[in-house]
């Protein structure tokens, strides 16, 4: 028993020493005991131009700022005041997809389904920044010739 504890202890020490070198980190070069300066908050993309989807069924990103007064709660969904079926004529905003008007059994509803109600659970704003780490993800429709 005693030997086992020593073994585990040793392994732990070796592993942690080893792991230390490999923690690459979003923190940058700052030691764990120091508080790095907060990165600048970038401006949210706000030009209303749709982005390409990176893979099939990707929820489209939001090409405008939503921080000002987009209330989405029990009472109100401000996104739907432009994107819902009733309002797209006046707003000319893309309509919420038909799938959002179905419940999980495929039954069509008059209103947006409760499980789709909280828009920003899937749809997110974008900022024009350099990614923190490289990303080699390729979507299903990726074409190596063009890079898209």
């Amino acid at each position: 028993m005693k030997q086992m504890i020593v073994c585990v202890g040793l392994f732990g020490i070796i592993y942690s020493a080893h792991a230390d070198d490999n923690i690459a980190t979003l923190r940058g070069e700052v030691s764990i005991t120091d508080q790095p300066p907060a990165p600048r908050m970038e401006q949210v993309e706000d030009h209303d131009i749709k982005r390409k989807r990176n893979y099939p069924m990707q929820p489209p990103t939001i090409p405008h700022a939503i921080d000002k007064y987009y209330q989405v709660d029990l009472f109100v969904n401000k996104c739907l005041s432009c994107h819902s079926r009733q309002h797209t004529e006046a707003s000319q905003a893309p309509m919420v997809s038909d799938t959002h008007y179905k419940d999980r059994d495929g039954k069509v509803l008059a209103e947006v389904s409760p499980r789709r109600y909280f828009c920003s659970q899937c749809h997110v704003i974008q900022v024009e920044v350099k990614p923190l780490v490289d990303n080699t993800f390729e979507g299903l429709l990726h074409d190596p010739a063009t890079g898209w």
């Binding site: 209303d48 009472f75 109100v76």
Partner: protein, 195 residues
């Protein structure tokens, strides 16, 4: 005692018999200044944010919501306080609104929105009052700062420019028609027209 009161009444009924005309004129003028000054000072004191949020109903509900919006904090530091939007700036309109607000004193005394639950329950009704007021006066309190004459559409976003240069410009719609819930959260909007 009764004699004394009787004497005062006699003097008040015909003061010019007992006091000189000069004393009455100048005295009346000074008394008027003090009275009017006092009235106006109190009126202005009740027209501040500090006064509004001295009640927990305002401080814990609507004021907390305002704090997250652009009318409270923004890049240039210009901000709106409660009376900027909720009390007309013009004197006669202000007095009319202040008189109406005596109903709110009643509400305070009897605690109509004393708790968060009571407030949420009554919120739609209260909001409707404000929407109706702004609709009737063509969003006057918005326009005290946001003057349409000086709006530069070329500096606006695509969507904003489209709405402002058409329906707002033609006077078909007023600010509050679209900009509901910009400084406070919205109540349950089910059944509200055009929402």
């Amino acid at each position: 005692m009764i004699e004394w009161v009787k004497r005062q009444v006699t003097v008040l009924r015909a003061p010019s018999r007992y006091f000189s005309l000069g004393f009455l004129t100048i005295g009346g003028f000074i008394a008027g200044v003090i009275f009017w000054g006092g009235f106006n000072t109190v009126l202005e004191a009740t027209n501040t944010e500090t006064f509004c949020i001295s009640c927990h109903e305002m401080r814990n509900n609507v004021f907390q919501e305002l704090k997250t919006t652009i009318h409270y904090t923004n890049r240039s530091g210009v901000r709106a306080t409660c009376p900027d939007c909720h009390v007309p700036h013009n004197w006669t309109d202000k007095i009319a609104r202040k008189t109406q607000a005596t109903k709110e004193v009643w509400g305070k005394i009897f605690g109509t929105i004393r708790t968060r639950e009571k407030f949420l329950e009554k919120r739609l009704e209260l909001a409707k009052h404000e929407w109706a007021r702004l609709k009737t006066n063509n969003s006057l309190e918005c326009r005290n700062c946001h003057d349409f004459e000086y709006m530069d559409f070329t500096r606006q976003g695509v969507r904003a420019e489209k709405a402002h240069s058409t329906q707002l410009a033609r006077g078909e719609k007023t600010c509050i028609d679209c900009h509901k819930g910009i400084a406070h959260k919205l109540p349950n909007m089910a059944g509200v027209e055009n929402f």
